[in-house]
């Protein structure tokens, strides 16, 4: 039977559509010219300029502080949540699941706005701490979903084997389940880290004076016009994201070897 070629051509068109703008952006970060219309030769000038911008270093420091603390807390909360959702059922877990699932679909602007109002209402001053609270709130859901998916394909007979050999449930979970789930948990943590360093909208709502993160810095550079510098900075951030996704893929494959055979 002859298959239609339309799906294949659509896929190719979609991939070109996805990567063309990113490719042009990366290309321009090496352009010696200030203007995107003309190519004046290969140059690392804009990358050198980045090193001398103190604001960017400050924003990078803030971004990393927030991302690291968000990752640690959301991995702990997300993993325990996934265990609860997987092991138990009933009304409590149904409510729990709804609370975990909903932040994944709520538009960023609503999360940002509601958290801003909450912080204003309780009189909390805005800054890195409020950004951390906001980021953790959406990252918990992502970590929980990634770990839950891993638990669902998990072969629980190894736990039964451990129990048969005399381990109690907690020992079996700690010594057998957790090490086997480690790649999944690490993947969840890396995703939380990426989401945190890339988030703009929610951060923009809950940030305070001096608490500039890299996306906020990029946004103000876009608004005030410094295109070649943004190209270089964006290329570096893209590279970081690509490396993290590659790591996540490696971790996923080490966990489920049998899937693609």
């Amino acid at each position: 039977m002859k298959r239609s070629r339309i799906p294949l051509f659509t896929t190719i068109a979609v991939l070109v559509f996805f990567y063309l703008p990113i490719f042009v952006l990366i290309l321009h970060s090496f352009n010696a010219s200030r203007f995107s219309g003309s190519w004046e030769g290969f140059s690392l000038h804009w990358y050198m300029r980045l090193f001398t911008e103190r604001e960017i270093w400050h924003a990078l420091r803030n971004t990393l502080i927030v991302a690291a603390s968000t990752t640690v807390v959301s991995v702990i909360l997300g993993t325990t949540a996934a265990f609860a959702l997987h092991r138990y059922s009933g009304r409590l877990q149904r409510g729990h699941y709804t609370l975990i699932y909903t932040p994944l679909v709520v538009p960023d602007i609503l999360m940002g706005m509601s958290l801003l109002l909450f912080f204003v209402a309780i009189g909390m001053s805005l800054g890195l701490f409020t950004i951390f609270l906001a980021h953790t709130s959406f990252c918990v859901s992502y970590v929980a979903m990634v770990v839950l998916a891993r638990l669902q394909d998990f072969d629980f007979s190894v736990i039964e084997a451990a129990r048969d050999l005399g381990a109690n449930w907690w020992t079996a979970a700690w010594r057998v389940l957790l090490p086997l789930l480690a790649p999944g948990i690490a993947a969840g943590g890396l995703l939380a880290f990426t989401l945190s360093i890339d988030d703009f909208v929610i951060t923009f709502f809950v940030t305070g004076p001096g608490a500039t993160t890299l996306p906020i810095q990029i946004y103000s550079m876009i608004k005030h016009g410094a295109p070649p510098l943004i190209n270089a900075l964006s290329t570096i951030l893209l590279l970081v994201t690509f490396i993290i996704i590659w790591l996540v893929q490696q971790l996923s494959e080490s966990g489920r070897k049998d899937e693609h055979v």
Binding site: S36, I109, L117, V120, A121, T241
Partner: protein
């Protein structure tokens, strides 16, 4: 459903995330509705007492066109994303295993890449001196004066660009589980490829379609940076108004009332899906 009381262990591992999200997700969402009934104070904060004036101020004659535009652009984005994602999900699911992994990775990368950077990339590409404009002028599809940026079409294009991966992934997941022999059976029974696709494949990936619609339509309704960066004054959406009331006018109750309206608009489709999923979970558990 069997009735039983949650054990101490269950509470112990449920409470951390439950309390966190209760305080930092559920309460803030409810506060949005409460503050819509508060007056603003002159210092950009929230006044005391309760009022209906904030809700009345939503009857601003500038709002209806913005609401229609928001809904129109979101529906447009959803339709375009689905019509591109259906064949793409199908093609990836039918690709040989080695190719499938590469294709999937290529779809996942934009999914996790910064929204802001991906939007900025289009700003570079659509720039009046950019390559796309030069190319279109060369093809005589545009002239030197035409503007690619700052119009509703640019907003639609970039919305499709940023949300398309959210449509492809659930449709791929659904297509992967689809039994493609059904399509062959339909063809053997005389259906044209298009009819087999429409009447056998599309109903077969129904659940994936439902997820894809939600994953695209809901964030689309809340779009804010896309119209802010690539749209002009005539492409403002509800999200822009919320941001403007918050950061420019410093009228938090008004921004809150707008957000409450948007929350109601996104909750309806979400509840439907959660109910469907809840039923499926129950069915699996009993």
């Amino acid at each position: 459903m069997h009735l039983r009381k949650p054990s101490i262990t269950e509470w112990l591992i449920t409470l951390p995330s439950l309390i966190w999200l209760f305080i930092l997700f559920l309460i803030p969402t409810l506060i949005v509705f409460a503050i819509a009934f508060k007056p603003p104070d002159p210092w950009g904060g929230i006044g005391s007492g309760w009022t209906l004036d904030t809700l009345r101020s939503l009857a601003n004659p500038n709002y209806p066109p913005i609401v229609y535009r928001t809904i129109g652009l979101s529906i447009g984005t959803t339709v375009i994303c689905l019509s591109l994602a259906l064949p793409t999900g199908y093609a990836i699911a039918r690709a040989p295993a080695k190719w499938r992994r590469i294709l999937l990775l290529l779809i996942v990368i934009p999914f996790w890449t910064s929204f802001l950077i991906r939007i900025f990339a289009w700003k570079v590409l659509l720039h009046p001196d950019g390559h796309l404009k030069q190319f279109l002028v060369f093809l005589r599809l545009a002239d030197e004066q035409s503007m690619l940026l700052y119009r509703p079409e640019a907003v639609l294009l970039v919305m499709v660009y940023t949300l398309l991966p959210f449509a492809v992934l659930p449709l791929y997941a659904a297509s992967e589980k689809f039994d493609f022999r059904l399509l062959e059976a339909a063809r053997d029974l005389g259906a044209t490829p298009w009819r087999a696709f429409r009447e056998v494949f599309i109903p077969g990936v129904r659940r994936g379609l439902l997820t894809a619609v939600l994953m695209v339509f809901i964030p689309a309704l809340g779009s804010y940076i896309i119209p802010d960066l690539v749209g002009g004054p005539r492409s403002e959406m509800v999200g822009n108004k919320i941001a403007q009331r918050t950061f420019v006018d410093r009228n938090l109750p008004h921004a809150s009332a707008l957000s409450a309206g948007l929350t109601l608009a996104v909750m309806a489709p979400m509840l439907v899906v959660l109910m469907l999923q809840g039923r499926r979970r129950d069915a699996l558990e009993t």
